[in-house]
């Protein structure tokens, strides 16, 4: 049951991202060219509804299915890591046309060359782990 609920939410996520075309390289290109509202509408409405949902969760002291109070751990303070890391991520996002979620989803759509991108992303994460103490955060 526990296994199925997480696989199930993943399936739902995969279907939504394909049907919304948010996994498309072309949609990412179009977004960064400011030529369509589509991606902004997706992200904007997700954040708007997401913010309202989290606000209600916190206001009503809702508990999760494990019985714990809902608590989203705040991100660490800092500036360089978010802006530099963000820019590096953005460069890759616009080149691959896919961020980590869509990479897996696109693999499922039958684009097996995506395995190269995923392997390179794992390598990138590994190299970050090696250099972590030397980078400004």
């Amino acid at each position: 049951m526990k296994i199925l609920k997480f696989i199930g939410i993943g399936i739902f996520f995969g279907i939504v991202l394909v049907k919304s075309e948010a996994v498309s390289w072309y949609r990412i290109f179009e977004m960064f060219k400011f030529q369509s509202f589509h991606m902004y509408g997706i992200i904007g409405s997700a954040v708007f509804l997401g913010a309202a949902t989290i606000w209600i969760f916190k206001k009503t002291n809702l508990k999760d299915t494990e019985g714990n109070k809902i608590n989203l751990p705040p991100k660490d303070k800092g500036f360089p890591r978010y802006i530099i890391g963000g820019i590096i991520f953005g460069l890759g996002w616009a080149l691959a046309g896919a961020c980590p979620g869509p990479m897996y989803i696109l693999l499922g759509t039958g684009v097996f060359s995506m395995l190269i991108v995923i392997a390179a992303a794992v390598l990138g994460t590994f190299v970050y782990g090696l250099l972590r103490d030397k980078l400004p955060h």
């Binding site: 399936i11 939504v16 913010a51 460069l91 616009a94 691959a96 979620g101 989803i105 696109l106 499922g108």
Partner: protein, 185 residues
């Protein structure tokens, strides 16, 4: 049924992504797809090389199940829920891409100029995929999250760091799309 087969508009898809986030929170987890990349490193024994990967990855097995589901969902969406129509991209976008040498724009989710085996089996094509993946993997961990963790969850939770990260995502994306892609293609 027919409406399911057509592309879903943003005002349906966006709220459904918020539902994914909300359900994961209700399950006591968080929505963050890039964390799996670190988990893969840990499974592969990267803890021998950096403390960053010394953690009990079994605690994050649930997220690997989400990944498995996402792969299945991608398969199901194209196999059972697609009518194979061309994407309704802005004609300007199609024109811009044609000028860069892209053809059959929007006929599939990804351009064959980048993802077809013909493209991949060239030095340039292989380099594009490796560099792109590396930047995503390095950048997302450095920034502490990706589109799901920062742009969706972090912004929904009104966290400043996530806003800075998302601004970074856009600076990087704009530089790539406007200045670097025209040099590559």
């Amino acid at each position: 049924m027919e409406i399911l087969l057509k592309p879903w508009p943003w005002y349906i898809s966006g709220p459904l992504i918020a539902v994914v986030m909300a359900v994961l929170i209700l399950f006591g987890k968080t929505f963050g797809m890039s964390s799996n990349l670190r988990t893969f490193c840990a499974i592969g024994g990267a803890g021998k090389y950096a403390d960053f990967f010394k953690f009990d990855w079994r605690a994050y097995r649930w997220n690997l199940l989400v990944v498995l589901g996402a792969v299945i969902g991608g398969f199901m969406a194209v196999t059972f829920l697609s009518d194979g129509s061309t994407m309704a991209l802005n004609p300007e976008t199609v024109k811009d891409l044609s000028a860069l040498g892209f053809s059959e724009v929007g006929e599939s989710l990804l351009p064959k100029e980048i993802y077809s085996w013909d493209a991949v089996f060239t030095i340039k094509g292989l380099a594009i995929l490796i560099v792109a993946g590396f930047l995503v993997g390095f950048g997302t961990r450095y920034a502490g999250g990706c589109t799901s963790g920062h742009a969706i969850t972090g912004l929904s939770n009104l966290q400043w760091p996530s806003l800075i990260a998302v601004v970074g995502f856009f600076i990087g994306g704009l530089i790539m799309t406007h200045f670097i892609l025209p040099l590559i293609f």
